[in-house]
């Protein structure tokens, strides 16, 4: 039978030491910082290219239907919305204070997870609907200028894309996300209560 003091003696006799040193930490920081910046730049460049393409198409092509202008406006707004969301998340994460008390740290983590969940589920559905509406409106004028085969292919592609998104997003993606976030929030709540 051992008492707690004996356990402390065992603990203090251990010679386990970390396998990394301060140089590893600095090297890892430089590496991860660069890859993080690269990811942001690539994401932004791709989104800016998409925006410029839509804007050039809009300005250079003499569209006559008001529905086409509305559809292009929707696409532009979708791109801007995506960029705004990414910047907002980046700002929130930058403001994260890792030196808060565990309870406060868990609360800020809970809030961020809930916000991300809302973006990934409800806002994602709005995003898909807006993009779909954009395509439908765009096709009204587009269909007056193409042959039957292109019309048919466009309709089939759009319907397939919609059905895929609807069934995947509604039945699989959202359900999976709901389960994951509920488990995570339950765990965070349990941990928060441990520091009451």
């Amino acid at each position: 039978m051992k008492n707690f003091d004996s356990l402390v003696s065992i603990w203090q006799a251990q010679n386990s030491a970390p396998e990394i040193d301060y140089k590893n930490v600095i090297a890892h920081f430089n590496k991860s910082k660069n890859s993080f910046i690269r990811k942001i730049i690539i994401g932004l460049v791709l989104m800016i290219i998409a925006l410029i393409t839509i804007l050039i198409l809009w300005l250079k092509t003499p569209f006559t239907y008001i529905t086409t202008h509305i559809s292009l406006l929707i696409f532009v707004l979708c791109c801007l919305y995506y960029i705004a969301v990414q910047f907002k998340n980046y700002r929130i994460l930058s403001a994260f204070k890792c030196t808060e008390t565990p309870k406060k740290y868990i609360i800020q983590l809970q809030k961020f997870k809930q916000l991300r969940h809302k973006e990934y589920t409800r806002n994602f559905v709005f995003y898909i609907v807006a993009m779909g509406l954009g395509f439908v409106l765009y096709f009204i004028e587009f269909f007056t200028q193409v042959n039957t085969l292109v019309k048919l292919l466009s309709i089939v592609f759009t319907i397939t894309w919609f059905l895929g998104c609807y069934f995947y997003v509604k039945n699989i993606f959202i359900k999976r996300e709901e389960t994951a976030i509920n488990d995570m929030l339950k765990d965070l709540e349990r941990l928060k209560n441990q520091f009451e």
Partner: protein, 165 residues
Amino acid sequence: MNPQEKVFKDIFEANSKKIYHLCFGYTNDVDAANDLLQETFLKVWQNLEKFREQSQISTWIYRIAVNTCLTYLKKEKRHLKEELTENIAENQIEVVQDKQEQISQLYDCIAKLEENERLIITMVMDEIPYTEIAEIAGISDGNLRVKIHRIKQKLTELYNQYEKF
């Protein structure tokens, strides 16, 4: 080496071993403990300027380590649960010397405690003052003393049960 790196080197050398014990006590896994240690000191490096304004630097490093451990659980929970039994079995085979076996058993017992209990008890065994632990955990001194008393009893019972087998 620039002055910032020199400061960081000193901070790392003064605190890394104890922070490693905390991470190892929390995960009972060498690789995970090294990952958590790296993540903790990555945040220390990023916030070095802010730390210079603090009088008790170890308190803030411990707080970062505690928060990092708590967050790590969220990402690795399933993975850890699956591997825990294997680690216990592996450690028992590999560790031959009495002292090492005792240390390994102690870590296995710590792994059976609640998350906050693991963090608090490793700090107690590393002789961090109670007032500092209370500040790190963000709880009152009185509350901490009650918790520590309970955890000590729980850990001792677990260890003695373990030793019987």
